[in-house]
Point group: C2
């Protein structure tokens, strides 16, 4: 054989405490679920499970949308699914940018041939509703409003309810990124009137990464069905994906679903259902308060002002004189603790401490504060 | 809460014997690997594992291509990654179609704005090399040749070596689907001179579904870098994905990799490395001969002629008087055995019996033949 056999050994990962911006700690129950026997993607037993996942996701998203399911790929693909289906070439899209992930929305608008109207806000601030109001006045021909509910790059939460209300008043569709909010703070798809939303499995749902829960309103589906141009992606074309994820008994093969990861997501959603959404939100809030008190004791300051702060993603300024990379490296190698670096404009300036899903518990907070104290005193 | 809690229970899948067109039986070692603790996608330990996966995949693909890695989504996304990067609007693409998956290639060409030239062959036959030769004569301005090495919908194997040689002679790039061949029959990327190839984790690698190994030649990367138009997909843009999968130490975040599924793929590739590629190919061949003898004894006939038959995917005509769906349903519910239905033009007419990866072993063949005998005699 021209290319040699590398003869490598099985990989045994270290056991970390995950308090970055995701993945978060994965409960053993979810890991156990992923180890169960693989069955076929058209097996009736699997199709029953798909229906259960849809039902559990409707609860998590607080929506009655029939088209609520996990995309077979990470959150970036869920984002792309929303844009390639709902934006046609020439469509004007008001895109709100207050961090990295708003910037990705803009990139998606451009690549689908949409015409972006950017509403910019400072990183670490929420989207300013009055600016969006002005953008609607300036662009009566806008077709879509796109914004990030919970900016993972900064920890800022925007007022999704008011933004969605503006979109409805102006008769446009809303695309919302709720990657970091779903399961951690209220995401009320139907109450707010969101038309398309995408999330990730590895944040407040505490599952392993790789799946992107999405939901689409009837209005969104109408738009997809009325398109004059084909959806540019075959893999993400809702018209085709619908055939696999629609009601049981009528499924047609589209692609081979990621069976075992879906076992994991099912278990993650069962755990959320056992705890109850309100209790999960309250836990994230309570744990945030405890972390906040501990950080304050150490003199550490938050990037985001209290009123817009996400409980599950705590961005703090790196203290003067502390070297970002080496401090995080010490946390990882000496404490097995992962916290997140800053992204984009905030790289090297902030740390992001995640309290998402299973990571949002007292022992993690105690451990994180202790480790931080030691590293900062060193 | 307006949307009620469904209060569902954990899902315990049945234990099946998987002898369809994928997923194939997953060895316990791979399932165990997927259950290991989740770590971060930028963790140095994870980055080491990524390098190992790349090295193991280069061995499986028999290539020195530095850009060899698993796409974080199923084979359909690997396919789309090849087309959206290597086909620019207006590029003429010779697309060979002899089954469902060739048809998907055509769909990809259209959605990227390429100009397809279709070379059609009957389902169940390999691609006719002389027809492709003629297509090159008729289309001296062609930029890409696309074909399926192992048609999963029929079980026919095409002469990849001759087709790639034609492409090279005519100075065009080659895109090859080797979803069902990788690890089961020889796939010799460098020796044949293939520029882009995509596969799936759940076929002869016997991993769980959800990942798509791909490899790109230097020539392919040059084409991507020289594009005049942006890649239409953000998630699948090689220019961006490269930043994450390139050499260790310089990685930049693109999307959150599916950590635990990648543990599984790593283990699947270690198992392949332990067995050795030639031994794996020989095993698939030997098991096919045994299954063939048993099917012949029962009077069952193959769809594909012997010279083009894939050992790992055995399409047989459903005998007269046997009802497709009810027979497969009996196999599934009474024997826990999954075999594949026909797809597209062959739906209701053929069954597809997979002998892929861990499913290609004596006990599976004995079990499958016994079950088939009982169901067909009923």
């Amino acid at each position: 054989m021209p290319v040699n056999n590398p003869h490598l050994k099985p990989f045994i990962p270290p056991q970390r405490v995950l308090m970055g911006p995701g993945p978060s700690d994965v409960p053993q129950r979810i890991l156990d679920a992923m180890q169960r026997p693989t069955i076929g993607h058209l097996d009736p037993a699997f199709q029953d499970m798909m229906e259960q996942i849809k039902s559990l996701l409707r609860y998590a998203f607080q929506t009655e949308n029939p088209l609520t399911f996990p995309v077979s790929a990470p959150g970036s693909a869920g984002m792309e699914m929303c844009f390639v289906n709902l934006v046609e070439p020439g469509d004007k899209v008001i895109a709100c940018i207050n961090g990295v992930f708003g910037g990705r929305m803009l990139e998606n608008v451009k690549r689908t041939g949409g015409v972006p109207v950017v509403v910019g806000d400072e990183w670490g601030k929420p989207v300013t509703v009055s600016k969006v109001e002005q953008a609607f006045r300036d662009n009566p021909d806008a077709k879509v409003l796109a914004f990030v509910h919970a900016e993972t790059s900064t920890g800022a939460q925007s007022d999704a309810k008011s933004l969605a209300a503006l979109a409805q008043k102006n008769g446009v569709l809303t695309i919302m990124d709720c990657v970091t909010s779903l399961g951690g703070t209220p995401v009320l798809i139907d109450e707010w009137g969101i038309d398309a939303a995408y999330s990730g499995s590895q944040k407040c749902l505490s599952c392993t990464p790789g799946l992107s829960p999405v939901t689409f309103s009837e209005r969104a589906i109408e738009k997809v069905k009325a398109r004059k141009t084909p959806v540019q992606s075959w893999f993400l074309d809702l018209n085709l994906v619908l055939g696999y994820w629609q009601s049981a008994g009528k499924r047609t093969y589209h692609h081979t679903a990621p069976i075992n990861p879906l076992y994991g997501l099912h278990e993650a959603l069962v755990i959320l259902s056992e705890e109850g959404l309100e209790n999960a939100w309250a836990r994230h809030r309570a744990m945030h308060e405890k972390l906040k008190a501990g950080l304050k004791d150490m003199g550490l300051e938050f990037v985001v002002e209290e009123s817009a702060r996400l409980p599950q993603l705590n961005s703090i300024w790196i203290p003067d004189g502390v070297e970002d990379a080496s401090a995080r490296s010490t946390l990882l190698t000496e404490f097995n603790l992962e916290i997140g670096a800053g992204l984009g404009a905030l790289a090297g300036k902030v740390w992001r401490i995640g309290l998402m899903g299973h990571s949002a518990r007292q022992e993690n907070i105690d451990f994180c504060l202790k480790a931080l104290r030691q590293v900062l005193q060193a």
